[in-house]
Amino acid sequence: MNETKSTTNILVELATFYIGDALCGMDILKIQEINKLMDMTKVPQAPSYVIGILNLRGQIVTIIDLGKKLGLGATDATLSSRNIIVNSPGEHVGLLVTRLSDVISADTDKIERAPANMGGIQGEFFSGVYKTADRLIGILDINKVLRLEDQGH
């Protein structure tokens, strides 16, 4: 319904997904691809939020448990969990999420500042919050999430 009203406003398409029970989203243009869990290689001594590395068509991709990285606890690898492959500077990084949700078009004007804490995730990881008719979507700031200083919590 938003789309019909705000033809003059700038729309971004958000890919939304669940991390545990929290609904998050990110700009779909930042996503290279989404795939099912593949055969991963464990890396002993890696930071706890790194589940492993996998071979994506000849590229080595570090897979990060988004739940753990954001302090929500480990994500269970189930049939519905997916890897969202994003382009991080100089490499590809895979983000493990609990399950995918829809792609929605969001009106940039309606994206609000994120609260200090949202569904157990610190506000600093969000670039904003988008309100749909029935839900709140936290828009993840992927660069912040992938920053190295904060190791997990």
Binding site: A46, N55, Q59
Partner: protein
């Protein structure tokens, strides 16, 4: 500055840098020639300066243009012989070319550079006025600027030196100043004047700009072959698509093979484009040595050998700094002052040799000097005084270990700190850098004679051969350069051979103690073991490796009390079912070496060796120091590449593990060795089911598992494809009357190296390595191809003479081998004295000698040999002795011989089964000339021939 076309600018930069690279060496040559001017050379440098000037003018790079113009002037004068080049003039020119290079590397800010300090001496030379010292301090002109120095600083710090307009607003005077259009003799920005901060800032103002994208020169023929290969690849792809379309499976296989072939050729060709001659790095050293030796008042001649040796581009780039450091070290610390050299009877001119060559698939770079050498004792004393090692540690260290102390962090040998080298950070950094490249450093030094540092480098970093191992269910790759050997300790020997020293576990390996690290513990993975019965990894709950009864150890506390209790209660019932007593409990150890030490890595399983492509790990994994990268295996999964030197650090393993206990155990082990008779390590195998054979283990290069179908019967000989070539295959029954090779599909190939050609002996399992001390029977079962027999574990075992088999089957291989020609040379048959207590070995060695035409006198121990030597003093030309003998051992015999002036010139060759470094050192100390391994006929005889040739 109007630089419109980036491409043209880039071209200018590259071309100019190339010119400058040549200028340096050429100027040095000009300096050497002095008045005897080589016009061609001067012309070349002149043209180089001229082209830079021209290009710079075109680009509007006025400062570069000006400097090159001034240099060109002088070169012009040298060319027309108006000026005789002397070191001062060349110095000024060299400094000028340095400045040019700096400016060209930072071309966008070059117009803001101040070059007066170069222009003044250059112009002075050109005008023929008396030459000022190389770096004149121009008289300060404090007048110029009204603007406070502060804004100058602020401006200078801005990282983008290109922002001219913005700056121009702030301080117009300053802006105008550093762009002198005409060379004014008065300096405009005084070097010494305003505030020290501004000069300091000026240096920081040149951001360490990453050199613009480097380009590479590739030979057209190489590009052509790349094109051809790419074309072939396209054709094969079309073929493949076609076959897939028509579902033609048989053809698909052929196409697959074709693509396989083309891909590997393509890969090779592409790798070649990355290869660069090491001369690119070497070329700067004449200058480095010249400048430095001048500064230190030494005379040194640098000889460079092997400029054409090629290495991967990345290695060439990273080898630069470590090499520079080593060369500077040689100049500063290695070569003595001329006066000191004269006093010890050396030529005043010191010699440094920089040499690159290929060896065993690696490139070796050697830096040797004829200076004062490294004094192991002094190094050790210095390390003790610095608190790096304890006095006790120093006492038990071998000379080599003492010299290697130089690699310890915080160690500097220089008595006083010079600005050249010796700041206490040095060799350890060099070593770390080389470790990163997969290189190894070795120092050989003799006090008073000089030092040779050898660096071994892999040819390329991109693709490396690796040993694949498994631990905790994951595969890991260990670079082959770090690999020394693979060791499997059978379950029943683990307790005997693995010990605890302090809180570290060690294994006895040929009389030495090797520290052990468990891979699973270092990387904190779950400790597992491989159960071949169930083909699965299982969690391992044992404590220390040698712990067969669940004793708790201080290192591996994790087992806890419960395990111990449990063990105590039912040890008896468990004996049979306990896996500790089954084959799976054998210990797999990968013996790896870093440049400073050797240790054993305990892993679950050993797998194949493979060539792998290194891929870097993501930044989230940079903190994991234990990995050098990752690679994608054939099945698409990833294996991590281990960094063995970092693993050693993570396990807190230091090369100097000199606890009292280690000392004690080492002594005990040495004692044990001495008490035992000669040990001979044998590899046991079978050819048919019923007969057991053995070969000396030290002759074996490799063992490969193959299928019978891989064997090809060609021209009456059996061969197989092996590492890109053909491997000649032999069997024991080729020449010996034994049962033929068993008719089974899975075969083993034991690879030997004879006449520097690989040869494979076909065999079947089970194979095992044993050490025997019993006497070999050289009579009962002797026949062609069999040198003797021995009883091992109740089986009669025939000792195979691979050398003889090969000699019979492939006589051509020996065609060019030197045979001692007695008559031709002197008419005297040289006599060799053999001292050996074992009948078998004595007869073997005697056989080798008589076959080659020598006369032999034999003695059953050292004392008998000594008597014989005195009796036959006139005839005996050489002594070949065993080490371990009753009554008088080889060391004692050698000492006795050397003490007597009558015999001290006789060459003495020692034969041994185990050539430990310490033994070799001890042997050399008492006067043994060469060490050889028993039964290695080829090497022994080559050596004997060499000595004989020298004698006659």
């Amino acid at each position: 500055m109007q630089i419109e076309d980036d491409e043209i600018l880039q071209g200018f930069i590259e071309e100019s840098l190339e010119h400058l690279a040549d200028i340096e060496t050429d100027l040095l040559a000009i300096e050497k020639a002095g008045a005897n001017i080589d016009e061609n050379l001067v012309n070349k440098v002149f043209r180089a300066a001229h082209s830079i000037k021209g290009g710079a003018g075109f680009m509007g790079l006025t400062v570069i243009q000006e400097l090159s113009h001034a240099m060109e002037n002088i070169l012009g004068m040298i060319r027309s012989r108006k000026l005789v080049p002397n070191p001062e003039i060349v110095n000024v020119l060299l400094q000028g070319s340095d400045k040019l290079e700096a400016m060209i590397n930072n071309v966008h800010s070059s117009n803001d550079e101040d070059i007066t300090e170069h222009l003044i001496p250059l112009n002075a030379i050109a005008e023929g006025t008396a030459l000022q010292p190389a770096a004149p301090k121009p008289a300060p002109e404090p007048v110029i600027i009204e603007a406070t120095p502060e804004p100058v600083v602020a401006e200078a710090i801005t990282p983008e030196p290109v922002q001219q307009t913005a700056e121009a607003h702030n301080i117009p005077e300053e802006q105008a100043a550093p762009t002198p259009i005409t060379p004014k003799p008065e300096p405009i920005v005084p070097l010494t004047s305003p505030t020290p901060t501004s000069t300091a800032a000026a240096t920081t103002a040149q951001p360490p700009q990453v050199k613009a994208d480097t380009s590479l020169r590739v030979h057209v023929s190489l590009l052509d072959s790349l094109m051809t290969l790419a074309g072939e690849l396209v054709l094969s792809r079309n073929q493949l698509l076609q076959t897939i379309g028509s579902n033609d499976l048989r053809n698909a296989e052929a196409v697959g093979q074709r693509i396989d072939l083309i891909t590997s050729e393509l890969q090779e060709a592409i790798m070649l484009t990355r290869m660069q001659p090491i001369g690119n790095v070497f070329s700067k050293f004449p200058r480095v040595v010249r400048d430095l030796s001048k500064q230190l008042n030494k005379t040194i001649e640098l000889t460079i050998v092997g400029n054409e040796v090629e290495l991967d581009k990345t290695i060439i780039e990273s080898i630069n700094d470590p090499l520079t450091h080593l060369v500077r070290n040689s100049v500063d610390h290695g070569v003595e002052m001329p006066a000191d050299r004269k006093r010890v009877g050396k030529a005043e001119k010191g010699i440094i040799i920089l040499k690159a060559y290929h060896e065993a698939g690696q490139v070796v770079i050697q830096i040797s000097d004829d200076g004062k050498g490294l004094d192991g004792e002094a190094l050790a004393a210095s390390a003790v005084s610095k608190g790096l090692i304890s006095t006790e540690q120093a006492q038990i260290m071998s000379d080599k270990e003492k010299i290697n102390l130089i690699f310890l962090p915080g160690f500097s040998m220089a008595k006083k700190v010079t600005d050249v080298s010796g700041r206490g950070v040095g060799m350890d950094v060099v070593k770390t850098n080389l470790d990163k490249l997969g290189g190894q450093v070795e120092i050989v030094s003799e006090v008073g004679r000089g030092t040779t540092i050898s660096i071994k480098l892999p040819l390329t970093l991109a693709i490396i051969p690796c040993q694949i191992i498994t631990t905790s269910g994951e595969r890991y790759a260990i670079p082959q350069v770090n690999l020394e050997e693979l060791l499997r300790i059978p379950a029943n020997q683990v307790k005997k051979r693995v010990e605890k020293v302090g809180n570290a576990e060690v294994v006895r390996l040929r009389g030495n103690l090797l520290p052990l690290i468990r891979l699973a513990d270092v990387i904190e993975a779950e400790r597992t073991y491989w159960d071949p019965a169930e083909a699965a990894h299982k969690p391992d709950k044992r404590g220390s490796i040698a712990d067969r009864r669940g004793k708790t150890s201080p290192l591996f506390q994790t087992t806890g009390e419960t395990q111990e209790e449990e063990n105590k209660s039912n040890t008896d019932e468990r004996v049979l079912s306990d896996r500790r007593y089954t084959a799976s409990s054998a210990l797999n150890i990968v013996v790896v070496s870093t440049s400073s030490m050797k240790y054993g890595l305990v892993v679950d399983r050993l797998q194949d060796s493979e060539e792998i492509v290194i891929k870097p790990l993501g930044r989230h994994l940079q903190q994991c120091k234990g990995y050098a990268g990752a690679t994608i295996m054939g099945d698409g999964r990833i294996a991590l590449i281990l960094d063995v030197s970092n693993l050693a650090q993570m396990a807190h393993l230091t090369s100097i593990d000199g606890t009292d206990r280690a000392n004690e155990v080492a002594l005990a082990a040495a004692e044990l060795m001495r008490a035992q008779k000669d040990k001979q390590a044998l590899l046991i195998f079978r050819s048919s089911e019923h007969e057991q054979f053995a070969v000396p283990l030290n002759q074996v290069e490799r063992i490969e598992k193959i299928k019978r179908s891989e064997i090809e019967d060609m021209g009456g000989k059996r061969v197989m494809q092996y590492r890109g070539g053909s491997l000649a295959l032999i069997t024991v029954d080729n020449i010996s009357a034994v049962h033929p090779l068993a008719d089974q599909d899975d075969l083993l190939v034991i690879v030997f190296n004879i006449c520097s050609k690989p040869v494979g002996l076909l065999a079947i399992g089970p194979i095992d390595a044993v050490e025997i001390t019993t006497e070999i029977d050289g009579v009962t079962l002797k026949q062609p191809g069999i040198m003797g027999s021995i009883i091992i574990d109740g089986h009669t075992t025939m000792l195979v003479d691979v050398f003889e088999i090969v000699q019979t089957l492939y006589p051509d291989w020996f065609a060019e081998k030197p045979v001692f020609e007695i008559e031709k040379n002197s008419g005297v048959v040289p006599t060799i004295l053999i001292a050996e207590d074992s009948n078998f070995f004595r007869n073997q060695v005697k056989g080798y000698m008589t076959e080659s035409g020598y006369k032999v006198i034999e003695g059953a121990d050292g004392a008998i040999a000594w008597d014989l030597l005195q009796k036959h003093a006139e005839e005996i030309a050489m002594v070949v002795t065993d080490i371990e003998m009753p009554n008088m051992n080889g060391f004692e015999l050698t000492e006795t011989i050397r003490k007597n002036p009558k015999y001290n010139k006789i060459p003495i060759i020692a034969l041994t089964t185990l050539a430990a470094d310490e033994d070799i050192a001890k042997g050399k100390a008492v006067g043994i000339d060469e060490y050889h391994i028993k039964l290695d006929k080829e090497k022994l005889m080559t050596c004997v021939h060499d000595y004989m040739k020298r004698l006659f």
